[in-house]
Amino acid sequence: MATSPPDPTLPAGEERAGRGERPERDAAGLGRARAAAFVVPALLLIAAFLVFPALWTIYLGLTDYRLTGLAAVDPQVVGLDNFERALDDDGFTNSLGLTLQFVVGSAVIGQAGLGFAIAWVLRNRRGFGRRLIEAMVLLAWILPSSVIAFLWIALLDRDDGTLNALLSTPGTAWLLEHPMLSIVVFNIWRGTAFSMMLYAAALGNVPPSHLETARLAGASSPQQLRDVVFPRIRGHVLTNLLLISLWTFNDFTPFLLTGGGPEDRTEIMPVFIYRTALFGGELGFGAAISVLMLLINLVIAVVYVRLLRRRKDPA
């Protein structure tokens, strides 16, 4: 939607940063009817297996439904009670705060930052070194989370964890003494690959001649980034931030590492819901929290879109 794709038909350097005004041409001669036919399979699947259960979940959020007990046979509609209760609940506010820390720390700053840094540093490299680094980063992304959890528990263990051996800090219980930091670093490790790939692709679209010109004009590296690179990858930044924030917001994997503890200090939103719905059995309440989470995600998405779009207009 807000991407700034290059157009190879134009000579490098004359690309427009945005294409917002240009009406989209129907290059393939699709026509609306055929276009609709192309979209239908995906939409049908999504309607049946995503929209329908999601709406059902939203409805459950208005009830006191449980999987067992009296409320299982005869759930009552309780209206917005669940939402009021959630907003009143210290557990909820605590977990919201933690989730925001988690998203900002691990996704917005960590994954996006490190992913960009790797992409930037490697942008002109080819060969074994680059492939090795990319492969390691990607490996962290594609391994199953239950395996990953064991890897990190082994790494951070108090008594004979690998990290304590490397840093000569025997007896440091990382997951207890720095629980949030641990899962933030963990999630950076886990998810940087996506940002790295996206930025690598985006940087491939920044014409080297532009950077060259800026450099010769005496622009420092930060200036080059700000004035030459950023305007051209703004759309990718938006896509990236949007997706990784959403994914991180819904990421359940830290539970496998910390179980939400110690105390509730890593009880991020998906963990809170898991505990409420599965251990407490309160599916109605859990569904209501899911809806609140959706609304928060909506706010985040709107903020991103506004932020990155407004700054594009003057260009």
Partner: protein, 297 residues
């Protein structure tokens, strides 16, 4: 870890064209090179150290929650070979992952292409809404609706059911990423193909797909990895152990009191990881593994 790339940017100076600033450049370049290698080593270390356990524990006869030099044994593998669900589960995971991957790639590519080329009313808003809804459905709270839906459709204990449910959850993100991707490819080829009388499906197959192949590969690997690690949906929807994927079987290596059998778990983790790694290596060597790879300068 987020070192601003300032000091490393000196390495851009390796290209010809700035020999004139040679005097100062020597030092800067040296600094840049040192910075570059430091950064790369740190990144490599950060991403490889956690993987050590996976390389040592499976071969250890008394593994613990630590990565250490193993007293070497292959017994753990033997025990797993005797487990009648372990190897089969990898096959099941493959079925689920391949099915979901194929469905997601085909559906999302078609949809993303159409959405990219033709302005359908409410397109962007729709995409955002679907993206947000996908976050509900992948959470625990949706388990009752998903289960009952599958039950009504007679999809309990059916691998197809798992594939459909998982695809529904992955599609919005896939369409979103691929549409971005398609937006970035030139339309001029399609126009020429159209002039020569190609039908839209032909254009799609012979012009667009080759251009966005790395993107499709990325989506395929991404969805396979998501399915490969997913425990909840197959666990809730499948009943016969003969159909269970590896993610579910991995959870069986615990005692009645919930203590993990680390020997089996670490070994199974390794077996469980190998297929995705192989797939990644294959895909990345055949198609390249990045976004927007179609346009190279």
């Amino acid at each position: 870890m987020n070192a601003p790339p300032a000091e490393t940017s000196g390495e851009t100076g390796e290209r010809p064209g700035d020999r004139h600033a040679a005097g100062l450049d020597g030092a800067r370049r040296l600094l840049g090179t040192v910075g570059f290698y430091t950064f790369c080593s740190l990144v490599l270390a950060f991403f490889s150290v956690p993987l050590l356990w996976l390389a040592s524990a499976p071969f250890d006869d008394t593994p613990s929650i630590t990565a250490s030099l193993p007293s070497f044994t292959l017994d753990n593998f033997e025990t797993l070979l005797d487990n009648r669900y372990a190897l089969r589960s990898l096959g099941n995971s493959t079925i689920l992952a391949a099915g979901t991957g194929a469905l997601v790639v085909v559906c999302s590519a078609l949809a993303a292409y159409a959405l990219s080329r033709v302005r359908l009313p409410g397109r962007d808003a729709l995409l955002y809404v679907l993206l947000l809804l996908s976050s509900i459905v992948t959470g625990t709270a949706a388990m009752v609706p998903l289960f009952n839906l599958a039950y009504e459709l007679d999809l309990i204990d059916s691998q197809l059911g798992v594939i459909l449910v998982l695809s529904g959850g992955l599609l919005p993100s896939a369409v979103f990423i691929l549409k971005d991707f398609m937006d970035g490819t030139p339309r001029s080829y399609e126009e020429s193909a159209q002039v020569f009388g190609a039908s839209p499906l032909q254009v799609m197959r012979h012009v667009v797909v080759p251009l966005v192949r790395p993107g499709l590969a990325t989506i395929a690997v991404w969805s396979v990895a998501q399915v490969w690690g997913n425990f909840l949906i197959p666990f809730l929807l499948l009943r016969s152990p003969e159909k269970s994927p590896a993610a579910v079987v991995m959870y069986t290596f615990y005692t009645e009191g919930g203590q993990p059998d680390l020997a089996l778990i670490s070994t199974f983790s390794l077996l469980y990881s190998v297929p995705v790694v192989l797939m990644f290596l294959l895909v990345s060597s055949r198609y390249g593994f990045r976004f927007h790879g179609g346009i190279k300068r």
